[in-house]
């Protein structure tokens, strides 16, 4: 045991260490003795049962051994789990059953009780077996239920996250579908020669305007500033922003205010692009500016654009 502890706690000279490693790689028994001893040390440490010398050495080894730090975190929980399921295991292990039946057979060997007790014992044995089986089934069902509930909660969380992400797109899709439906109705009614209603009245006005902010520059090298005209019905603006730098996620600021966090950068035909949707009311008439920041808060891009509200008399 001393040799194994020396190895595990980093107290073995390097040359011996190498020889020891070559031995356990070739010897299954030794290998699992080392694994078992590490488990024991980790379990004792997690339970606060290591003596002071061992504790000092073990903590020193933790500093140089990230995998062992994870083992410590796991050990506490494995112990909790074991305690939680202790009774469950006890009621059904073969050890318990074989012990019970051997005691039962001993009783049968007592001459005085052979006949009278036999019937009672058999009845008791049957009843106990029934209770054990019921208990086992119940616990198995409870475990299954707990597991199913955990899975349900996780799935609900996932769905919630996905819904958040797809909410804006779903709105857009609904608007687009309504619009297509109205247009189809209008087209059909026009084809049938029913022109009583002016087509414009039947067509749902678009509610989302889209603006693509590219990395393109003008001939003079100055950044190109696109202009977007929005009608009063366009309550949202979808901004697609092309980036020069390849990063996974970015934060977005609009006119100095944080408007989106950890937006995923997508690859579209080789271009790095992000897409966010903002209410038209959050945009200023005239010049607007959007800043892209990496997750460390460093600005990696800035795009200017201009908004003109149709129906306004300014432009």
């Amino acid at each position: 045991m001393k040799e194994i502890d020396q190895y595990l706690l980093g107290e073995m000279p390097e040359s011996e260490r190498q020889q020891f490693e070559e031995r356990f790689v070739a010897d299954e028994t030794l290998f699992y003795e080392v694994v078992e001893r590490e488990n024991e040390l980790v379990d004792q440490y997690a339970a606060g049962k290591l003596g002071s010398d061992e504790l000092t050495q073990f903590e020193k080894s933790l500093a140089a051994n990230p995998a062992r730090r994870q083992k410590v975190a796991n050990a506490k929980l494995i112990n909790e789990f074991v305690v939680e399921h202790r009774e469950d295991a006890k009621t059904i292990t073969i050890a318990e059953r074989s012990g019970f039946f051997s005691r039962l057979s001993d009783l049968f060997r007592m001459p005085a009780l052979q006949l009278g007790s036999a019937a009672v014992i058999v009845a008791f044995a049957l009843w106990s077996t029934y209770l054990l089986a019921e208990n086992r089934r119940l616990r198995s069902l409870e475990t299954e239920l707990a597991s199913a509930r955990t899975q349900q909660t996780e799935l609900e969380k996932q769905v919630e996250n996905e819904q958040e992400a797809s909410g804006a797109l779903a709105d857009d899709l609904t608007s687009a579908r309504d619009r297509v439906k109205k247009l189809e109705e209008t087209v059909a009614s026009r084809r049938q020669g029913d022109v009583k209603t002016p087509p414009e009245a039947n067509v749902l006005k678009p509610t989302i305007a889209t603006l693509f902010l590219s990395t393109a520059v003008g001939r003079d090298g100055a950044p190109f500033v696109p202009r977007l005209e929005v009608s009063p019905t366009e309550t949202k603006v979808s901004l697609m922003i092309q980036l020069e730098k390849a990063v996974d996620r970015v934060d977005v600021r609009l006119n100095g205010a944080n408007v989106a966090r950890a937006v995923r950068v997508r690859d579209r035909a080789g271009d790095k692009v992000i897409s966010i949707t903002v209410p038209t009311s959050s945009l200023k008439d005239g010049a607007n500016s959007v800043e892209i920041l990496d997750t460390a808060g460093q600005r990696i891009a800035e795009r200017d654009f201009s908004i003109v509200r149709r129906g306004d008399s300014k432009e």
Binding site: E21, E22, F24, V25, E28, T29, Y32, V35, E36, N39, D43, A64, N65, P66, A67, R69, Q70, V72, A73, N74, L77, I78, E80, F81, V82, V83, H85, R86, D88, A89, K90, I92, T93, A95, S98, T143, A146, T150, Q151, N161, E164, A165, S166, G167, A168, D171, L254, A257, V259, A260, A262, V263, R264, R266, S275, I276, T277, V278, P279, S282
Partner: protein, 201 residues
């Protein structure tokens, strides 16, 4: 990146009596050797792959290897040394080590997430029999009685104490690996936000 070819892998398998389980078992031991040398979980698979690549290519080049296990252990140590040296050089070169420092567990995850992972791993990867074995084997609250309890458990299962120990250790390794992978996945997914966001302000 793995450079292991089918033919060189076959040479390696030949040295292990053409038995894939022997290869798996050797792999488990090399993984553990690297962990005991201080290799973080995030790099262990990559370095083990490199180890077997190199062992196989040495065999393919005709190198005489008497003890394949001892040879693999020596190669693994060398690969680990190379890895740590490289990271040290990188850190001096541009102040950014290639291997990120393993974060503290307290920061990495919370106990609830880890416990959820444990339950999920047991529910999805363990048979009832395996679960009972883990519970019975590691129920060592009464320290001095642990050996007796394990001996009795081994007898009841019709196996030697040593076979039971190996089985319990393998199950615990499998469980811990599953928990660590699961926690790493949970931690990554909590970092992920939405792909497109609508601003409500």
């Amino acid at each position: 990146m793995s450079t292991l070819t089918t033919s060189s892998f076959q040479l390696l398998l030949d040295r292990l009596d053409n038995d894939p389980t022997k290869y798996e078992e050797l792999r488990v031991r090399i993984v553990q050797l690297l962990r005991w040398r201080g290799c973080p979980e995030s790099h262990v698979d990559e370095l083990v792959d490199k180890t077997f690549d190199r062992v196989a290519s040495k065999l393919a080049s005709g190198e005489q290897v008497e003890n394949i296990g001892a040879f693999a252990a020596a190669v693994a140590r060398f690969i680990w040394l190379e890895h740590t040296r490289k990271n040290r050089t990188d850190a001096v070169g541009d102040d950014l080590p290639e291997t990120p420092v393993e974060p503290d567990l307290d920061f990495l995850d919370d106990e609830d997430a880890r416990m959820r992972c444990l339950r999920r791993c047991v529910a999805t990867k363990f048979s009832d029999e395996d679960k009972r074995l883990v519970v019975a084997y590691y129920d060592t609250d009464a320290d001095e009685k642990a050996k007796t309890a394990r001996k009795r458990l081994a007898e009841s299962l019709g196996m030697t104490l040593n076979v039971l120990k190996v089985r319990a250790c393998r199950l615990r390794m499998k469980l811990e690996r599953c928990i660590n992978d699961c926690v790493a996945g949970v931690t990554n997914s909590t970092r992920q936000a939405t792909t497109e966001q609508e601003v409500t302000s």
